[in-house]
Amino acid sequence: MATTLSPARRREQTQSLPDWISTRLAPPGILATQPTRDGVCTIWIAATDLRPTLAALKEDASTTLMLFDLTAIDERGRTHREGQPQAAFTVVYHLLSLTSRADELRIKVPLGAASPGLPTISDLWPNANWYEREVWDLFGIRFDNHPFLRRILTPPTWTGHPLRKDHHARATEMPPYSLTEDEEMHEQHALRFDPARWGMKRHSAHSDFMFLNLGPNHPSVHGVFRIVLQLEGERIVDAVPDIGFHHRGAEKMGERQSWHTYIPYTDRVDYLGGVMNNFPYVMAVETLAGITVPPRAQMIRVMLAELFRIASHLVFYGTMAQDVGQLSPVFYMFTDRERVFGIIEAICGFRMHPAWFRIGGVAMDLPAGWDGLVRAFINDLPKRLDEYDAMVMRNPIFRARTQGVGAYTTAEAVEWGVTGPGLRATGLAWDYRRHAPYACYDQLEFDIPTAANGDCFDRVAVHVAEIRQSLRILRQCVDNMPAGPIKAEHPLTCPPPKPRTMHDIETLIHHFLGVSWGPVIPAGEARCCIEATKGLNSYTLVSDGGTTSYRTRIRTPSFAHLQMIPLLSRGVMIADLIAILGSIDFVMADVDR
């Protein structure tokens, strides 16, 4: 424990994390320090140093570090690796400090091509469990001593590791698919739940347990999500979430689509978030390309993102009420959401997935009369929200169902990588828009709503308060929308600005290439993160200097949040689990990608 360590081992506040690590490592110490476009400190260490380093960081780095992301890169096809150690695979540990932006750290470990493996860190950070399973599933990198290293996103019968560069990406690279009856039986048998494999008992001292498949098609699991429940009567002894039914290979698709044509795919990751998903992606591309987005485009982006936050929170609010059996609120809230979509449609021409952001700006300028629409909406919604407070939040049955149910502390939330409203409901006022303001959030006023108990009710309360804060941000956007261009004057914006195309050959060439190939983004690595509807959503892009991304990593909040379900559901009733699921606010596309 941190308290038993000698003070000398603890880091001085003035010392940077990499310096502190290098003093603690035996030679060769830090293998390399990699410059990245996003400015996050990136160090390479040897596989043998991994566990001691991470254990030390966890215990006595004098900063609260969250395991933000854990992923891998298949380096075998990459040409631009200047200054990086030899590696066939790289495992990346991204640690986020909630207290200081300077302490954000990316640790990379080089691995060889033959049976790559590392020790697990799931005993240090519990949320590493699923991330390591994902890396095993998609890259075939082994994690020794992992409690349950099995496939997580692909079916158990899958062969190969999809995110390896030698794994096919398209159906046309494979022979025609057929499913015989035997194979079908085999597939179905593989999905059958075997308690013994999870170390679960079938009987207690005095009764048999019932194993109940909640999902993949169940009205309250918000998509295709399966939780296997070990029940004693209606009380849950243990739960095993099973994800992957919604996996569409969004990260693999990123390696095949041009930088520009990938934008619509991002809309569908958190499908309630719409253009909010474009945000971190285009920001990451812009960081790689060195594009500065003009202020009007920034403000339009923020405005649309906040509109989508309201739309998503309204769905959450309504379905949460429905999950505890209240039939009507969802209809009222969907009516409000329709109004949001009306505005979004007026601006973008699409409703749920407008794919409106572009590399370097947004697709088009705001239409005439947009401000009237937004103003009417932000004047009207608060009254409706007051009504919903009376109907839902002050309803004694709703309170009885949600207060004290599914509670976790701030410390647990950080351990499990919980961000967004789920983290703020525990009492920590931490919002990425404040922690590391992106776009024009540093110029906007808003509060960070928090609650105290971290239970289902508090999570709903924070969501509701956030709708009001988003309205506040929207008002500032309408009042202060700057004039100017909506796309950067930069050769790599896409589609490229047109006016000078027919006047000089240089612009014409850029325009021609930008439209036919798509832009060629300079080699490098960048990660951009936003406070999405459900928590932190980040895109890490690795460019090898081509027309497509070399590696697209999507870190979604829902993936981290779902991992907590077993912890929250032990000992509660089935009905409580439904309330917990509703209050977590996830969509399966955001989990499985």
Binding site: F331, N395, A400, A575
Partner: protein, 317 residues
């Protein structure tokens, strides 16, 4: 002629009304939820219920291979039968009802409701599926416990009227409806009535957000339709009972008794539907706690208070 046609017509009328009620409920919910509800089939969508009925009738009569066939088929029949039989003793008019004058009418209804539990429990058991079993278990616990204080809450009415016959109970409300002197019993009976018909907020045996469709998860076609219609007939039954026991039955000025009875019953039915539109669902253990810790003492208190007042009245000259 009258004596012959009533036993035939009443169940048919109840079935017809229950079927129509599915449409009424959907339209009312639509109204309260800012949407339309079914409005396409016939004027105002009134034939929607017919269309649904035809659809259910023509569906394949399917029994899952893993179910206990005999019991599986029997369960919805029990559900339907017990509800229909209960209507026999409801006095729609001062004279009417098939056996409106039965001297143990109230006990008969309680007995029928007690038997009605079997439908749900057997359906849950015979389906041999986990969700249905959980629903059946919930139903057994919920309905048996709520039956207890439903019975106790009615004792006050029986004591005040001095009879188990529903016709006598109506007659005893000539001066003041029992809803006023028996308001405690009325509240308990209302809650127990909702629980008996397993409607929201007490629809835990079905609890679609938790158990899919609960005890009738495995049912389809006409057998599902029977559960469905029995539930709506149950709503009408409980509404008619509340009208009879607490709201003076057919008593009322100017209009004939049958009209008053219908109006009051319709009002109660609407109230049931409004509850469904308004309230969330408590958790299973909260529901049981409410029953045993609050409603049972309240209904006992009601009996005691009624008895005390009656005794005081009898002793004071």
């Amino acid at each position: 002629m009258m004596r012959l046609s009533l036993p035939v017509l009443t169940p048919l009328a109840v079935l017809g009304l229950a079927t129509m009620l599915t449409w009424v409920e959907r339209r009312l919910l639509g109204l309260w939820q800012d949407r339309y509800g079914p409005n396409r089939v016939g004027p105002g969508g009134v034939f929607q219920a017919v269309a649904d009925g035809v659809k259910l009738l023509f569906k394949q009569d399917w029994v899952p291979p893993f179910a206990d066939r005999g019991v599986f088929v029997l369960a919805p029949a029990i559900g339907m039968m017990t509800v229909l039989l209960s209507f026999a003793v409801i006095p729609f008019t001062a004279m009417g009802g098939i056996a409106g004058g039965m001297n143990v009418g109230l006990l008969f209804i309680l007995a029928m409701m007690g038997l009605g539990v079997y439908a749900v429990v057997l359906a849950g058991w015979a389906s041999n599926s986990k969700y249905a079993l959980l629903g059946g278990m919930r139903a057994a616990a919920q309905m048996i416990s709520y039956e207890v204080f439903m019975g106790v809450s009615l004792l006050g009415v029986v004591m005040a009227a001095g009879s188990f016959s529903l016709r006598d109970i109506v007659a005893a409300q000539g001066r003041v409806w029992f809803v006023i002197p028996q308001c405690l019993g009325f509240c308990v009976f209302m809650l127990a009535g909702i629980a008996e018909t397993h409607r929201l907020p007490f629809d835990l045996p079905e609890g679609e957000n938790e158990l899919g469709a609960g005890f009738h998860t495995e049912y389809s076609g006409l057998k599902f339709g029977m559960f469905f219609i029995a539930e709506y007939a149950g709503i009408i039954l409980v509404s008619a009972l509340v009208t009879t026991l607490y709201l003076g039955g057919g008593l009322g000025p100017v209009l004939p008794a049958a009209v008053w009875f219908t109006l009051k019953t319709c009002g109660m039915v609407m109230f049931f539907i409004l509850l469904r539109a308004a309230l969330p669902r408590p958790r299973y253990d909260q529901l049981m706690a409410l029953g045993w810790k609050i409603l049972l003492p309240l209904s006992l208190l009601n009996v005691m208070a009624t008895g005390t007042i009656m005794m005081l009245r009898a002793t004071t000259p």
